[in-house]
């Protein structure tokens, strides 16, 4: 479904019609709005989009970690064909870490300051359903997999640098060999040298375990270098899905085009290309295409017709410039 290259690959995660709503004092905000997306085994996928467009909320929904006042209000999340939204809480707890695991934003601060690194890895493994204590040597092996010396197991978090802490968090995330690693801005606090080391580690781990990595973030340079395919979100919807080359060199959706154009470079000083207009309000979203009030290419019908994600040569775009078809004619991305 994602063009000839991806047809060959095995589907790992199928997200179908996923919706998340937040109950607020002023009404319901649909932060994730009917998302369809397929991730393939072993691929590196990047998710970008406007601040507040629902990226983190979507990831938390995959993990079933949406808290009140939010709830998953519809859809399916099939991991190897099993709908995670139908699992019991106990089954879901075991699936976290073993099936899909998260390296959260600011993960470095999520380590317990008074527990040795090795003990933290051991504890989180047992909390997520590993019944027997980790075999001897497993902790050391995990540390080596993320590029840390085995002796780090004996250290406390404050004895580690930021990059080392982030590696320790990755060691926890991969401890039960997940099929899918969700990484929300995993390196935004680190310098680019350390960032590159960590991303190299994540890539080789993904390759050696045949795990899929879903990377969320705002760093378009990192996205260009790390990912193979990308999805672009706007207002809770996925508006474009394509290969990383297509997204950067021939973006189709007007929002993606403007986002790509806004990226600064070392060629231009004092040039700023933000997207004019106001970010949309989820409580009072526009009719038709959510982007139409800010879209420089909007057609008359954009104010009334809501475009669905539609396939064009293996590239998916939700925009009326590329023809309008009924919702059902579109293939899920």
């Amino acid at each position: 479904m994602g063009g000839p290259a991806t047809d060959m690959r095995q589907k790992l995660l199928e997200i179908r019609g996923l919706e998340v709503e937040f109950q607020t004092r002023r009404g319901i905000a649909r932060a994730v709005n009917c998302i369809d997306l397929t991730l393939y085994a072993g691929e590196r996928f990047g998710l970008v989009g406007e601040s507040g467009s629902g990226k983190t909320t979507m990831i938390l929904a995959l993990l079933r970690m949406i808290r009140e006042p939010g709830r998953i209000s519809g859809g399916q999340v099939l991991l190897d064909g099993v709908d995670l939204l139908k699992l019991s809480d106990e089954e879901m707890r075991k699936t976290r870490l073993a099936g899909l695991a998260m390296v959260p934003q600011g993960a470095m601060n999520s380590l317990n300051p008074v527990m040795r690194v090795g003990d933290q890895i051991r504890l989180s493994m047992s909390e997520h359903g590993q019944r027997r204590p980790a075999e001897a040597g497993r902790i050391e092996e995990l540390l080596q997999m993320v590029g840390l010396r085995p002796q780090v197991a004996e250290l406390y978090p404050h004895e580690l640098s930021g990059g080392m802490k982030q590696r320790a968090c990755i060691a926890i995330a991969i401890s039960l060999r997940p099929r899918l690693i969700l990484a929300d801005e995993p390196t935004s606090a680190l310098d680019v040298v350390v960032q590159r080391h960590i991303m190299q580690t994540l890539r080789s781990l993904g390759e050696s375990m045949d795990a899929t990595v879903l990377l969320v973030g705002h760093d378009m340079g990192l996205m260009a270098q790390f990912t193979q395919r990308m999805g672009i979100m706007y207002g809770g919807k996925l508006v474009e899905v394509g290969t990383v080359e297509e997204i950067f060199s021939s973006p189709k959706h007007p929002y993606t085009q403007l986002l790509i154009a806004s990226i600064p470079s070392f060629k231009s000083r004092g040039e700023f290309k933000g997207i004019p207009g106001v970010a949309l309000s989820l409580l009072n979203p526009p009719t038709g295409c959510l982007f139409h009030p800010r879209c420089p290419q909007a057609l008359d019908e954009c104010a009334s017709v809501d475009p669905s994600l539609k396939e064009l040569d293996g590239h998916h775009t939700a925009c009326l410039l590329y023809g309008r078809e009924g919702t059902h004619a579109a293939t899920p991305a």
């Binding site: 404050h158 580690l160 310098d191 340079g221 060199s249 806004s262 231009s268 997207i275």
Partner: protein, 350 residues
């Protein structure tokens, strides 16, 4: 010549963490020998860049007088900000403003934007009437590209991240500051909002002659907006100078490594493939090593001398300064010359 608007001389800040669960207490040098000078006469736009834990926020807090240095001084118009007379302190609080990373956190969600904007006017008694206050607010909002009628009367959660960040800028503007210290003002937002907010700051610099100290870990946006840049590594300055020279021709091995490692937004550059060897990491947190160049353990050029003694800042051929013995033949840059390095010679336009 009048004294500089704000000057930092040899700032050093040491945090000691209580020993309890970890045995002996440890000391972290968050800032080592940091000096800077912001002219009262010609505006400048300076970046202080470094990774998290490199001491950036400590420097911001010291410059804002929110904490006292362990040694060294911060001077506002020539007087030490620790122990200023009340009238001086008032001028300092007004002329030096701050913008922080997460504007969402600062505001009480139950106050409307109007309240956020009128509070500083009332606090400093800047308006004689309600009407004048309204005019000031409207002018400040317009200066940051917000429409008063679309913005006033709203609660913070009803505004986008970029709008909220611009409200913070408008609030700072109301006090007609001479200097705005912006600590990671755009690190939480997407690329297009980054451009919108940085453009606002840049315009205020150009049109209102407000100086900026832009604190960030992102060299690409630094290149976009600033004239000068100071690169920190573990609390100490490793390189400083004109931003184009520093980024286009970095001199310090750390800056060279940083610039080379920036992921470019062009797919297929082999960024992940290069430099495959993985750091195994030694122990040690973010503070400065007690002896020697803090970068020596990572540096390809490190010699015995580098490990024995911390290098001072030397002049580089490119007209900047680098704390590295590779330039040990050149003159040492003292605090005064360092300050002069970062003075903008009216280049403003770029």
């Amino acid at each position: 010549m009048p004294p500089p608007l704000l000057e930092a001389r040899h700032l050093r800040k040491v945090f000691s963490s209580g020993g309890e669960p970890f045995g002996a207490g440890s000391e972290t040098v968050a800032t080592e020998d940091f000096s800077i000078s912001i002219s009262a006469e010609s505006p400048s736009f300076t970046t202080v860049a470094g990774e998290s834990g490199s001491g950036k926020t400590t420097i911001a807090r010291l410059l804002l007088g929110l904490m006292a240095p362990t040694s060294g001084q911060v001077l506002f118009r020539g007087s030490d900000v620790q122990g200023m007379r009340p009238t001086e302190r008032r001028a300092y609080r007004r002329e030096v403003q701050a913008i922080f990373q997460d504007p969402f956190e600062v505001y009480n969600p139950f106050y409307k934007v109007d309240h956020i904007l009128t509070t500083p006017i009332r606090k400093f008694g800047l308006a004689r009437s309600k009407g004048e206050m309204g005019e000031m607010v409207a002018k400040a909002l317009e200066a940051v590209g917000l429409r008063p009628d679309e913005t006033l009367g709203r609660y913070p959660h009803q505004l986008s991240g970029g709008q909220r960040q611009r409200i913070t800028v408008a609030r700072a503007l109301l006090l007609q500051p001479k200097l705005i210290i912006a600590d990671e003002p755009v690190s939480m937002v997407d690329a297009s909002l980054r451009a919108t907010i940085l453009e606002t700051l840049h315009r205020l610099y150009r049109e209102f002659a407000i100086s900026f100290i832009y604190i960030t870990h992102d060299l690409t946006t630094a290149y976009q907006v600033t004239d000068n840049i100071v690169i920190l590594y573990r609390g100490a300055v490793v390189e400083a100078g004109d931003v184009e020279r520093v980024i286009d021709k970095p001199m310090h091995p750390y800056t060279q490594e940083l610039v080379e490692a920036i992921p470019t937004p062009v797919p297929g550059r082999g960024w992940l493939a290069e430099n495959e060897e993985v750091e195994m990491g030694g122990a040690g947190g973010g503070g400065v090593e007690s002896r020697g160049c803090a970068y020596a353990p990572r540096c390809a050029h490190a010699a015995d001398r580098c490990r024995a003694q911390t290098p001072p800042l030397y002049r580089t051929d490119a007209g900047g300064a680098a704390a590295c013995y590779l330039y040990g033949e050149n003159a040492v840059v003292g605090a005064r010359e360092f300050a002069a390095l970062l003075v903008t010679d009216g280049r403003g336009e770029c």
